[in-house]
Symmetry: C2
Subunit: 443 residues, 2 copies
């Protein structure tokens, strides 16, 4: 499935490698980010579960192969190649950083070692699925940090880049620290907590706001959240207060949220509803939430949509997938690229995490117990080594490891000093040797 969900050149290169007899060359590719997006001091890795599912399920259907055969770019490819595609499976190895792990520029999130064609075809899909979920998990971590312990719920499917992006945004936002999502399919597929309130159209659909509120309470009981700004926010709060328990709380979606949340809080408290919560929504992001919290607005939770589901301030990650080693007929060749702004570092790598620094080393290097190897075996011979941690485990991992990062990393702006990441001596030596030989090649 999904074998055509790639760039055409991956498939023409596959045909070319096949014709050139390079089917048995073994390639190692690494997926990483050269520079962190603006105002980010770390990324939260996410998307591995979908990446692994893609690799293990990668197949070309008969219809897909027939389509390829009809393209002008495949007019000179032999019948053997299409037979090869019909039998195609990903039989390689994958090592990856577990979802929920903070990573930094230059650190591989995923390493693929496989026959050249099998390693090349997945590039596009792997970048899109890991790149997008990492982007959103990272954005969520910023927003959750700004909320300072108040719950944040992801509400952005309607503004996501396609409905399916909305499902994955819900998953990634949860990994990044959100309490849950409004996306029901993310709940159904991944077991993520789902939340919701009611829309303005609910209030409009009844002849009075009071009737709309009564109906909602009857249905939702202790889960009831009244949206109180349809007509007049304070009047809406009074109506909610008059209905009394059971309720979870109220939602504010417009106006001056600092002023309104204080007045609504007073109305609820005066009616003995000090347990009722206030949720705020409406084009929020980490900066607005920080301002609300700094102003002491009595808001208990935030719903964040557009800015979270599209990572609006930095809507792409610039992840790349680069060839770092090639084994041809038993001979290993390291590859790198030395151009100023697009350089790559050769060799299959491991990232070792120490107390307060990372080391990028060759995968063949070993370290002591104080060093946690971040990349772990995921696939061997195309098979899952063990079930992957689910979104819940990934979220816990993110929570734990983000708490251990230096405080300066949690700034919403670029920290004066980046997190310390250094290359191992062996890796630097390999790089120097390759640079000396001038044999690194492109990337």
């Amino acid at each position: 499935m999904n074998a055509l969900l790639t760039d055409l050149y991956q498939l023409t290169m596959a045909a070319g490698y096949f014709e050139a007899g390079k089917c048995r060359d073994i390639a190692s590719f690494e997926l990483f980010v050269r520079r962190l997006p603006a105002n980010r001091n770390f990324l939260v890795a996410a998307g591995l579960e979908q990446a692994a599912g893609y690799l293990t399920g990668l197949r070309f259907s008969g219809g897909e192969i027939a389509y390829l055969r009809g393209l002008p770019q495949f007019a000179r490819a032999g019948a053997d190649f299409f037979d090869y595609l019909a039998r195609f499976r990903f039989t390689g190895d994958a090592d990856a950083v577990p979802e929920g792990t903070p990573v930094f520029a230059g650190e591989p999130l995923l390493r693929i070692r496989a026959p050249l064609i099998e390693a090349q075809i997945p590039e596009t899909y792997l970048l899109a699925t890991i790149g997008f979920q990492t982007l959103i998990a990272t954005k969520a971590a910023r927003i959750v940090a700004a909320a300072g312990g108040r719950a944040v719920v992801e509400f952005g499917t309607r503004r996501a880049h396609s409905p399916e992006a909305g499902v994955l945004a819900g998953r990634a936002a949860y990994i990044g620290g959100c309490a849950g999502t409004s996306n029901v399919l993310a709940g159904y597929r991944y077991g993520i907590p789902v939340f919701g309130t009611a829309a303005h159209s609910w209030v409009q659909a009844f002849s009075s706001e009071a009737e709309a509120f009564e109906r909602l309470q009857k249905l939702l009981g202790p889960s009831t959240i009244y949206l109180i700004d349809t007509y007049d926010t304070l009047e809406g709060a009074r109506k909610a207060a008059r209905l009394g328990p059971p309720l979870w709380g109220v939602r504010l979606d417009s106006g001056n949220l600092v002023v309104l949340s204080r007045e609504v809080r007073r109305i609820l408290d005066q009616s003995g509803l000090s347990g009722a919560k206030i949720m705020a929504t409406g084009d929020l992001n980490e900066h607005k939430i920080l301002e609300l919290c700094a102003a002491g607005a009595p808001i208990d939770s935030f719903g964040v949509g557009t800015d979270l589901a599209t990572s609006a301030d930095a809507p792409n990650l610039g992840a790349v997938y680069k060839l770092v080693e090639l084994e041809e007929a038993g001979a290993r060749r390291y590859t790198a690229k030395f151009s100023a702004d697009k350089s790559t570092v050769p060799g299959a790598k491991q990232v070792f995490r120490y107390q307060a620094r990372d080391e990028i080393a060759l995968a063949s290097e070993a370290r002591g117990r104080d060093a946690e190897p971040l990349l772990r075996p995921v696939l061997r011979g195309g098979q899952l080594v063990e079930p992957l941690p689910d979104a819940h485990a990934a979220r816990r991992r993110a929570q734990d490891s983000l708490a251990r990062l230096p405080k300066a990393m949690h700034s919403l702006f670029e920290a004066k000093d980046p997190y310390p990441v250094e290359y191992s001596a062996a890796l630097l030596q390999l790089l120097a040797a390759l640079r000396h030989n001038g044999s690194g090649g492109g990337g």
Copy 2:
């Protein structure tokens, strides 16, 4: 299918409407954009084919219903409601602006008239699918305009917000005027022309650049595009020139594209390859392309990835879906919202397009032959009225109608005067009456 791909509140509201006996109320919702994104003077409507496919295929599976029953928010919903979901079909009407049509702020792209619950549940999916594709088709139109007749190919799947977003971005970019996409699945599913070259890893995988080029030419023949910047761009151009025909041309992916394209052009011409084309790629967008064209760089086509597939300068559209009419037991009620920044206009609407202006009127109004009604019947009673125009027809429509827009609308910046769009007298009268009664309600 995909019935859970929505916000939870759509389904809790559905349960609430069901319990309140509002199953037979008929609602009209409209999907529109309140304000155009920054620096846009128009939008190119796209995504209708996927929206219609969603509506006609909308079903709840047994597993999905069982999941909903287990959620705390449905603990008080009756068994009748879940039986209703099991039988659920979209049985309503849809009217929409054909894909490829330029639209402006306030103009409905889609109008749904259906039993309240059936109209409410699809909100999230419709917004995400039409919003995203319209966003990308619009971005593509900007880039294509900047390229001034040179071909633009969409190359952005790897940076799209999930792999599926990449497929839809390829489709939408084609509608917006791109010559095609690198996304093979977009070609397979929608018949869109697919293009590709080769990656730097292709050059690296062979022992020399010359061998890599020979292999590529052998495979691709007249479709061959050499990527010539892996080691040294001019040396790469000379190697390509030495190989001679057949080839399509060369691709530049880095460096000073103005200088390099001139020198590469000279090398090709001196080798008698004046028919060979030059393609430029590498973090391009409409502004960089405009600069290259203004500088007279001899570039024949552009490949645009990240900025196009994520509409990076304006990564969301802010589309909304608002209740405009409600028919309860035969009585029609118009709904609107009067708040300063989130106002809506009541009543089911039609957009009439005249020579150089638009009029937003009530759907019940009629106009003469000089007025083209933009919203056309798509679904009646849940069934397609006729097959929808495909992406090719949508692209032609965009091309023709964009060419008819005033030149000022094609600026990459906000035009001094927006395109003239006015409300009909009848619509203004209805709005005034509703405002007078104060009965508009929320939105």
